[in-house]
């Protein structure tokens, strides 16, 4: 298969690289220009954006629209809490265990929920999350419904938490870009756009979906471990809450589903709204719900789609175009 990546456009590639490098440098140099308020805001932005990047990998690229990724928020958070509090693990080794455990549990979860299609897959995944929520809420070893404190986490320097947060976000964006530019990315998008046609061309649909699901779940668990370090408290009703899926889908949809920059833009909007309206809940959520309905009906490609129309250009080069006059075929 000959890859038909967007024709190399040197000036654009240089501008892209320069903008990305400036953004990354600005984030890395945050202690120089920002105080604790900026740090706190950027940590919240980073983990929300990373969450949306992982949700977008599923819904935007693999066609797996799910309302059940809170399973892996809860599992990631609890792995950290139980690892540190019950097994004397260090915080950072617990991150690794969280990712591995989430990947392992994603396999049976996917095997069951992939039997459902479309909207029923979305709700079926939510149902699985409810099972986890109820089981953890009745399980004394994990502190049942009252939850657990992670005492070790209090000793961590907030700037370390910050670097882990932006590190996770950058790594996840890089992972998605690399995946999209690979053969696997093509297979994922083929499955999303036309499952039967993809299968007839030799794409192993089930395996490709499961691979995306395992990767996104491990990523989600890492983010959850970070969130739990920052809190540093976990409780089943909030860890396995549907609100995580509501937030992730809002960010991906409003920012632009199926684009790399979309979840980042959506996360910026989400964090700003939360900042303005207060995180107390009801009003914030009413605005989120209404905005996502209007966005879906009026501009389903999100802010990224609008920007692409205006600028004719996007920050990450992952689009592929059919070869115009060259003789090679896909």
């Amino acid at each position: 298969m000959t890859s038909v990546r967007e024709p190399a456009n040197r000036p654009a590639a240089i501008v892209r690289a320069a903008i990305l490098a400036a953004l990354v440098l600005g984030l890395v140099a945050a202690p120089v220009w920002g105080g604790s308020a900026a740090r706190a805001l950027l940590i919240v932005f980073s983990y929300n954006a990373a969450l949306a990047v992982m949700w977008n990998l599923l819904a935007g690229y693999a066609g797996l629209v799910t309302f059940g990724q809170q399973v892996f928020i809860g599992l990631g958070g609890y792995t950290l809490a139980v690892g540190c509090e019950r097994f004397g693990l260090g915080v950072w080794p617990a991150f690794l265990v969280a990712a591995v455990l989430a990947a392992a549990i994603a396999v049976p979860v996917g095997a069951v929920t992939f039997r459902l299609k479309g909207g029923y897959f979305a709700v079926g995944s939510w149902l699985v999350a409810e099972v986890f929520r109820l089981v953890f809420g009745n399980w004394d070893f994990v502190g049942n419904a009252s939850g657990m404190f992670i005492r070790q986490a209090r000793a961590i320097d907030p700037w370390v938490v910050y670097y882990v947060a932006i590190g996770l976000l950058i790594a996840m964006v890089a992972l998605v870009v690399a995946t999209l530019r690979s053969r696997l990315g093509l297979a994922l998008m083929a499955v999303r756009d036309a499952e039967d046609a993809a299968a007839s061309l030799g794409v192993h649909v089930w395996r490709v979906k499961l691979l995306a699901f395992v990767v996104a779940s491990a990523g989600t668990a890492l983010i959850a471990a970070l969130i739990t370090v920052q809190t540093p408290f976990i409780q089943p009703n909030s860890a396995f809450s549907i609100q995580w899926s509501a937030a992730a889908s809002f960010m991906a949809v409003v920012g632009g589903l199926g684009t790399v920059e979309g979840p980042l833009l959506g996360a910026a909007v989400y964090v700003l709204l939360q900042h303005q309206l207060g995180s107390s809940g009801a009003v914030h959520l009413i605005v989120l719900g209404a905005v996502s309905v209007v966005m879906m009906l009026v501009e389903p490609r999100g802010i990224a789609g609008l920007l692409r129309d205006r600028l004719g250009w996007s920050l990450f080069a992952v689009a592929r175009r059919p070869p115009a006059s060259r003789g090679d075929s896909v």
């Binding site: 149902l127 089981v135 809420g137 009801a282 719900g289 309905v293 879906m296 009906l297």
Partner: protein
């Protein structure tokens, strides 16, 4: 004897679950829509009934006659002006739109009615009747009878009337139905309205049977989903049988494992059905 009592109660609670599932089943059957706000419409009806109509001095039975048409109109309007625009564009848009509606409804209820538990205070709730040697709550009996009656009416409407024929034709093949002079958009709005009206009935029964909160909408959606998965997607009779099975599983789970395991037991039975019989118990054969 105790097991027998559990089974009878499961059967009766299944009537309520069945009617909770009917709306989801109708929406899916006609337009392949998984309506994520259906549970919130049920809870909206319950609040309208308990927090608006009953305090206004309207007798409960007359209030029902208001709730159901209002929900019918709400379902029609939501479909025609909001959800319709998301259909036919893939899996994601209707999910995001109905989930957004759900979030808005739930939080508007939270702002307006607070998170306090509500219920209909009526003599019905505490009354019991002797049935086949055991005492069952009268309200459960009412739930079951009303649920069964709704199913009967729906099957008659869908099976015997011109509207039902048009709905089934649209469900099978919208473009051919259009050639026969049926406007699919009107049929979809009609289906959504009927589904929301069943949600209105379910909301009244919910209010009379148990306590509810704004967040109960999500629980209702999951119950509806489970009932539909167990019964078979798109089959109304299957939905009802699914309701009975789910309720029995929950009550057996509560009896054998303890009250806090009722929901888990129900969820696990549904997941087992997914693994071993993904088409459900009564799958719809055609379309």
């Amino acid at each position: 004897m105790q097991l027998y009592e559990t089974l009878i109660n499961g059967l009766l609670l299944g009537g309520l679950y069945g009617i909770i599932g009917l709306g989801l089943s109708i929406n899916f059957g006609t337009m392949r829509l998984v309506h994520l706000a259906h549970g919130d419409l049920i809870v909206l009806a319950a609040y309208f009934f308990v927090a608006v109509l009953v305090p206004a001095g309207i007798p409960p039975l007359a209030a029902v006659a208001v709730v159901v048409p209002v929900l019918f109109a709400t379902g029609w309007g939501l479909q025609r002006y909001v959800i319709a625009g998301s259909l036919g564009r893939g899996v994601l848009p209707p999910l995001i739109v109905t989930f957004g509606i759900s979030t808005v409804l739930q939080n508007v209820l939270l702002l307006w009615a607070t998170a306090d538990a509500r219920t209909l205070h009526s003599p019905l709730a505490s009354a019991g009747v002797q049935l086949a040697g055991i005492t069952v709550a009268t309200v459960r009996l009412v739930d079951f009878a009303v649920g069964l009656a709704c199913l009967g009416v729906l099957l008659l409407v869908l099976g015997k009337t011109a509207l039902g024929r048009a709905l089934r034709a649209t469900s099978d093949d919208p473009s051919t139905a259009r050639l026969m002079g049926i406007d699919p958009r009107k049929m979809y709005a009609a289906a959504a309205a009927i589904a929301a009206a069943t949600g209105g009935v379910a909301g009244v029964l919910l209010a009379a049977t148990s306590t509810f909160y704004p967040a109960t909408g999500s629980e209702m959606l999951l119950v509806a989903f489970e009932v539909v998965v167990v019964g078979g997607l798109g089959s109304l009779t299957g939905t009802f049988i699914g309701g009975v099975l789910l309720a029995t599983a929950q009550l057996l789970g509560a009896r054998l494992l303890g009250p806090s395991y009722a929901l888990v037991a129900g969820h696990l039975v549904v997941l087992a059905v997914l693994v071993f019989r993904p088409q459900g118990l009564l799958p719809r054969t055609a379309a």
